[in-house]
Each structure stands twice: as C-alpha cells, then as structure tokens.
Amino acid sequence: MAVTRPSVNPQARAATGTLAVEDVVKRFGEVTALGGVSLEIKAGEFFTLLGPSGCGKTTLLRIIAGFELPSAGCVRLGGADITGMPANQRPVNTVFQSYALFPHLSVFENVAFGLRSRRVPQAEVQKRVEMVMGMLQIERFMARYPHQLSGGQKQRVAMARALVNEPQVLLLDEPMSALDAKLRAEVQVGLRRLQRSLGTTFILVTHDQDEAMTVSDRIAVMREGQVIQVGTPEEVYARPRTCFVAEFLGAANLIPARREGGGAETPLGPLELPAPPRWEQGNLAIRPERVELVPDPRGHNCLRARVRDVVYRGSHQEAWLEPGGLRVRAAAHPALRPGQEVVVHLPKEALVVLDD
C-alpha cells in the first residue's frame, strides 16, 4: 500500500482525544472474555492489541467500536464517556477482518457509504471519495464490484471506506490475515506510513508478533482477558515481564532460577544478574541472539556446552545446546556441528529477570 498524498483533509486532522479504556469487563454467559482491562491510547498513536486467539483482543476492539456493551467499566474518547454510544454515532471506524464490503455496491459506492448515510452533499462525497481513493491508489477499481477484486485490493477498499469518514480512531481487526506473507510485509510498511502521515489513532488487533513489532508505537500483550504488558516494541521484546510475553514475542530461552545473593543459581550454573530478583524462585529469559559464543571461558556467566542440533537459516544459524536446551542464534560462519564443544557467554545485561 503506497501513499501518494499525505492527508485527506489537513484541517480535519487536528489532534483528537485520548482513548481510555477503564476497568472493562465483558462476560458472555459463564465465560469472561475480558477480566478488567485498562488502557490509555494517546491521540495519533499506532496501538496494537497482541495476543493468541481467545485472549479477548477482538472483544475489546468490538467494545471500542460499539458492537458490544461491556459488562462493567467504561470507554472514554477525549474525556467523554462513549461506553453506551451506538456504533453508528461514534467517530470511530473499523476495518473488518473479512473486509465486509457491500457486494451489491461498486467500489466507489462502498467507499462513499459512510458519507451518504450522513447525507453529505454529493459534490463533497465525490471530492472526498476521490481523494481517499487516490491516497490508497484504488481509483482504477472505482467502478468494479468487490467480487472482482483481489485480496489486497479489497483490503485497500476497506481501508478507504473507513478512512473517508476521517475517524478519530481507526480500528483494524486482523486486516492482513487474508493476505499472503509477501504482500503482508509490504502492506505493513504501507500501513505504518499511512498512519504517520494521517496522524489518526490506529488500533490494530493481531496475533502476529512480527506484524505488531513492525507497525506499532506501543503494544499491549493480552492473555486470557487480561493485559499482561504494555510498552513499545523494544520494551516488550527486550524487557518482557513474564514467561508468556517472552515466549509470545519471538524466541526466548527461559531459565528456571533460585535467588542466590544478588544473582541466581540455575541449572546452567550461577549467573550474575543486572538486578537482584524479587522472588526466591522464578525465571530468567535471554534471547537466542543475545547468547554469545566465545573462544574460552573468561569471567562470569560463561559455561561449557555441547551442540545438540543445528539449523542453517541462510542469514544465520540456530543451535540448540546441551545441557539445558539453550537456544543460540549465531552468524552463519563458521558452521557449527552437532556434538561440537562450545563456550557460551550469557551477558549480564542481556538477562531479563521475569516476574514469574
């Protein structure tokens, strides 16, 4: 998705309010989909709700859109309580996972739908639809019908249909799940650029951690109806707070540990830590790419190990070591061999003390 024009209507792009979700609970019968979620999403932010299926991220998005009423808690936009405001009155628009384009309307009429239902004069409809279609480069498909479009084209029409209304907040429900991997990477970068140039608050729901890292200003990692951690991509990747976050965002070595003075006693031996743990017994995490292979043991946090398996990945190689199943990502050369003796160094600053 390429962006040719920076803005639909610059005057209308004045910064809008913060979206605040306060202690939102949603129960469906016996099932609790959201167990008290609070978030503050700043105006103009690209915010991602990331989590495995069933974690409540889509339910939260539907509550913000106005399709579901929370069982408790409230949603505020720019300070005003919009919890009970009907979906068709919220300055919030949605890009649906299925795109939900109207099959009996042309691309133009699909995009114009939101303006027409608010009785915007024809001349302005024409102008705004053409502008947003130009921005998303879909003018060529104006007269086509949804069934004549490819997945990527449909996705852009769905974006245009939402953005033409100049929403304060754009909600995106897994908008790339129907695209193939190559196109997806391209669309992610385009989406990021579009959001920057519009300055609109985007809230994306996804289960794809790569996608979340690529596009987001901040990520909320969700699990079982709770927000586990909120932070920039760097923060949640480099300083995960729990085992779940560490493992959900990329590969992680989890090392069970017992506190020993300011450091920890682990199955790999004693390790020095950046900060003393608050628990007696818990877990440490280290990313495979932060584990170093060194010629010989020197100083702390070094240990001898044996290569169990190696996978060649082209740009790098990945090895599983014994003891402990430690995963290491190393430069592709020199090639490691199974059974080879190595010395690894777990740099103190790369070790993360998890909360659990």
Partner: protein, 273 residues
C-alpha cells in the same frame, strides 16, 4: 469417470416416465376432439378456448364457474403471498439476526420447520377448530375467502421464512456491523443493504408461496365458503361428476403456470447464491 449400470439408467428413465406420464396424458386429452371416452378424435384448441369464452363451451355454466374460481384463486394467491412474504421475511430476519442463545435458536429453527413437514390435513383441521372459536369474536373468521387467505398465509410463512433465512445465513452478519460502523441508521441499512441483498431470496420465497397457494387443495377445501371456490376445488368437484376435456385443459394450464414459477424461483436462488 463413473460408469452407470444399464439397469440403473433404465430404472431412472422409467421412474421419470412414471412421474410425468399422468400429466402428459392429461395434456393429450386436453387437445382431444372427443368429448367422452378415451378415443382420439383429432387435435383441437377448443377446450382451451372454451375456458375463456362461455359461448364456445358445451357447458357454459361450468365455464362461468371456472372463471369465477380463477378470480378467487388469483385473489387468494396474490393477497396471501403478499402477507406471507412480508411476515415471513420479518420472521427470518428476527430469527437469524437476534442474538439468541444457541439452544433458543435451535428450538426456533425447529419451530419454523415444523409447519413445513406437518401434514396439510392436520393443519386444515386445526384451522377449522381455531376459526370456529375465533368466529365468536369476529365474522372475519367465517368460512370463505378471508378465512382461506389466513389459512394459506399460515402455511406459506414457513416456506418464505426458510428461503429468506438461508439467504441471510449466506450473507453473514458482518455487513450489518459494517453499515452500523458507517453511520447507517437501521432504516438506512435495511433500505440500502439488507433489502437489495435479500431481494432474490424474498422474490424466490414469494414465488414458492404463490405456487403453493395456487396448488393448494386441502386447506382451501376446509376453509372455503359457498361462494369461494378455487380452481383445485372445481377440479376436485368435477372429477366426481366425470372429468371433461375442459378440466384437462384447466389442469394443464395450472401445471404449466406452476412449472414456470418453480423454474423462475429456482433460477433466482441459484443466480444469487
């Protein structure tokens, strides 16, 4: 390639013949010059002509009765279809779009399906009982055309609702939400999205309902009054008096009308699917 055993093929052909030969016989006798008996007396359109013109009929009174019955049949079919289509469509939308619990939905789906499989005769007898009670409140429920319309509507609704419901299922509820998200009021959504998309289903359901009304005998027989004879009732009456070629012509026309309606309605549902 799967190969067909000759016996299977032959059975199929014979079965089809078994299904359509009686109708073919009626069609043949409807263009037979001979008035009585089973012998072939040469080709003629006169029985058809006599349906439209009492002067050409050997039995002018029968022609007049048939013409009156034709009017009754059409009024009955048109009015009951209109009512059943509106009610059936609303029923389908309510059943399909309201957030019922799963158990309630299954129950309601069965409730909708039941009238389709209930024998007509049971429904007819029930209507007679219901009308005799309701008659104490209003003369609308006297046996006759109004009662027949109500009777037809009761069995048509389920058919309309089932056809519309399957169309609604295939559309999915996303579009409802998309329209709401794009500031549409419910009325605007219904006009701009729901009705245009449901139209093929609604028309197909209406045609099915119309055909059923046209062909109905049992419900009409139980609810008809002395001056509200329909074509099927006339045919039934004339069979007892001895079938004339005029009745054959009438039957053939009704059959053709039904065939056309069914083909049209099938075409509509297929194209929109």
């Amino acid at each position: 390639m799967s190969r067909l055993h000759p016996a299977v093929g032959i059975t199929a052909v014979l079965t089809l013949a078994f299904l359509y030969l009686p109708m073919l016989a009626v069609a043949v006798f409807s263009v037979n010059e001979t008035r009585y008996g089973m012998s072939w007396g040469g080709f003629t359109w006169k029985w058809y002509q006599s349906l439209f013109n009492p002067a050409l009929s050997p039995d002018p009174k029968l022609t007049e009765t048939i013409q009156a019955a034709f009017v009754t049949t059409m009024v009955l079919a048109v009015v009951s279809t209109l009512v059943a289509t509106v009610l059936g469509t609303l029923l389908a939308i309510a059943l399909e779009r309201y957030p019922w619990t799963r158990r309630a939905r299954a129950f309601l789906d069965n409730l909708l399906y039941l009238p389709v499989v209930t024998p007509d005769i049971i429904l007819a007898a029930a209507l007679v009982v219901a009308f005799s009670v309701l008659r104490q409140a209003s003369s609308l429920f006297e046996l006759g055309l109004p009662a027949m319309i109500i009777g037809h509507v009761t069995f048509q609704i389920a058919f309309v609702a089932l056809v519309v419901q399957s169309r609604l299922k295939s559309l999915g509820a996303d579009l409802d939400e998309a329209a709401r998200d794009l500031y549409a009021s419910y009325g605007y959504f219904v006009r701009r999205v729901l009705l245009p998309l449901l139209a093929p289903g609604i028309v197909a359901g209406a045609m099915l309902a119309f055909t059923l009304s046209l062909d109905d005998f049992v419900i009409s027989f139980f609810t008809a009054g002395p001056d509200s004879q329909t074509l099927p009732l006339i045919i039934y009456g004339s069979v007892r008096r001895g079938v004339t070629p005029q009745i054959h012509a009438l039957s053939t026309l009704i059959f053709l009308a039904t065939v056309i309606l069914v083909l049209l309605s099938e075409r509509l549902t297929r194209r929109s699917a």
